[in-house]
Symmetry: C2
Subunit: 361 residues, 2 copies
């Protein structure tokens, strides 16, 4: 297995084709809550401005207290590890595995980390309709020391069926294998109790990754965290962290947005409405072969008689950035991913798609 860092392509590069050319792109390529930064944080940013002249608390005691309160479910401060973005937590947790089983297609950072740290990587593909293949996952776990899975999964937005996942958890718990579940998008899911946080207290094998990036619309603040009842594992990962890894603005965000129930509720209500509207409209285009059911704030689309490249370039020429999916393992350039944004932005994209259809179909 090559140890080289593979070619990375992420959503959200509004710089190369946008800002550096003086163009303000509408970014459908990164899946950020379209309500934007919570007002509760904005109003308290001056608090952070006072705090930055001091070092943050080396133990981040207040931050962990607020997270514990938010998570409930018997989570204690000692079950939480804080990261400079989910990226740091992904790096630490997956980096601790020798033979991870990674469910794909999914976020490319899982594979990037595993390539630099693991001895062997096993890839377990989703079914053709992008549902999880639970049997295949379980079969693979025999030769792996950990599972890496997202809930909901990026790029398609599917969620884990808890009933079907039970056997996998039981097997991993009994055989001391880790289950790393990336729940970066879980707060967008409309079904109740879709997160595995509640199961953490009962299963030490579970390690849940969360972040402020997507739901709280703050990728720039760089804050993510991991949760597990395996105290020894949390301690092992923490020992390798640099001191003061969380900045004061992220600390202020932790103290404000988690209690912002108005923002949290509004986000869900508005997203569900827009997701429904957007999917109904998108389904009408001739050049879209399939739109997969999503519980996130984004859609994976399969194109027909056109390519991701063609659509990407057309959209870019109209000031819109979409996400090509050719660098997701198992996908190719006939797939694209779109964020669900505000009605105004979604309509803007729909209009561009209509023009594309006129020209190309």
């Amino acid at each position: 297995m090559s140890k080289e860092k593979s070619f990375i392509e992420h959503g959200g590069d509004i710089y190369t084709e946008g800002k550096f050319k003086g163009i303000n792109l509408v970014d459908f390529s990164s899946n950020i809550n379209f309500l934007g930064v919570p007002k509760s944080f904005k109003e308290n940013v001056y608090k952070a401005l006072e705090d930055i002249t001091c070092y943050p608390d080396l133990k981040y005691r207040e931050a962990k207290f607020h997270l514990k309160e938010y998570l409930g479910a018997e989570i204690k401060e000692e079950n939480i590890i804080l990261g400079n973005g989910a990226a740091e937590i992904i790096n630490l947790a997956i980096g601790a595995l020798k033979r991870p089983c990674i469910v794909v297609p999914s976020f490319s950072e899982y594979e990037t980390t595993a390539r630099s740290c693991s001895e062997e990587i096993v890839f377990c593909s989703l079914n053709e309709d992008f549902t999880y293949n639970y049997k295949s996952i379980l079969d693979n776990m025999e030769r792996c020391d950990g599972l890496v899975i997202a809930n909901p999964n990026n790029p398609n937005g599917g969620v884990i069926d808890k009933k079907c996942f039970e056997e996998i958890i039981a097997y991993c718990e009994a055989n001391k294998k880790k289950i790393i579940i990336d729940e970066a998008f879980v707060e967008f899911v409309s079904r109740d109790n879709q997160s595995f946080i509640d199961s953490c207290a009962n299963f030490k094998c579970l390690f849940i990754i969360r972040a402020f990036t997507k739901f709280f619309a703050m990728p720039g603040i760089r804050f993510g965290y991991g949760v597990s009842s395996d105290k020894a594992f949390i301690e092992k990962l923490s020992k390798t962290q640099i001191p003061w890894n969380i900045n004061s603005f992220a600390e202020t965000a932790i103290k404000t947005v988690l209690k912002d129930t108005e923002y949290i509720n509004n986000s869900k209500v508005l997203l569900y409405k827009e997701r429904e509207y957007f999917s109904q409209k998108l389904k009408g285009f001739k050049f879209i072969d399939k739109l997969y059911e999503s519980h996130g704030n984004f859609f994976l689309l399969k194109l027909k008689e056109t390519s991701g490249e063609e659509l990407f370039n057309f959209c870019l020429s109209k000031g819109i950035l979409i996400r090509r999916c050719r660098n997701f393992r198992g996908l190719n350039d006939s797939f694209i991913r779109l964020a669900v944004k505000s009605r105004e932005d979604n309509n803007r994209l729909l209009e561009v798609f209509m023009n594309f259809e006129k020209v190309n179909c």
Copy 2:
């Protein structure tokens, strides 16, 4: 050599004895520019608030451009590596050494990092008057693959004599050994051209660490950087970094404070004045045996007929936090370190010291 993380004690823990007990301590234990956060940053914080809904540029192109402009001296973007605080850069650079020679007493993170990454650590002590022992450093370099040294050094504030250091640089350059110079406090030095940045272009062995923490008074923003003309070394370290390691507020700071010549000049002028005032006053106390010459914004003091513990507790009871030095390798509890702060704060400390003298001497 034990691989355990040793007991850490840093300045700036205003939480345990202060905030969590509802007490606002005056913090002389961490050495932060007493002018506080530059106005140029405060005025642009709303720019950062807009930016945090987007991922930072994965390549941090604008940030590196502004640093390059600030550093001058033939530094190019490719010579710069950005860190989540100097802590990340220290961790990466020292982590790359197998047998570092660490000049002590100095910042404890050098040793902490080396303990978790190195095969062997060689400690090279400062002279009794806390000047550098250049001969001893050179002798030690034969069996080491890198030198770790601070300029100015923390906790005493002494600076490297460039002339005396020439032979060490020449030896390391010829023998492919690294010289890691932590210049976190160098902008406070009144002598011109005390930094080794200007020598970077000519000597690939040099790796300079800088930060916004001290001079720009922003420990909470978490930003540090490394500079070296050894492109391969910079690339090697960069490859192990997580993506988006610098937050949007730090990016905004980079774009604003480096050009804030008013803040930069005021900081120097005011510090020199206060440093002189404070040292003259401090020298008058009977319980202070020695005050060492400092080019930083802090002083190392040797106590007599009292201990760090005694003075620490007395000051704490008056709302002042000072830095005990017992956990600096080579020092003991008869040393303390004090930040140079505003005239008002310095006078407040001097008054507490007068009371201490009355009670104890």
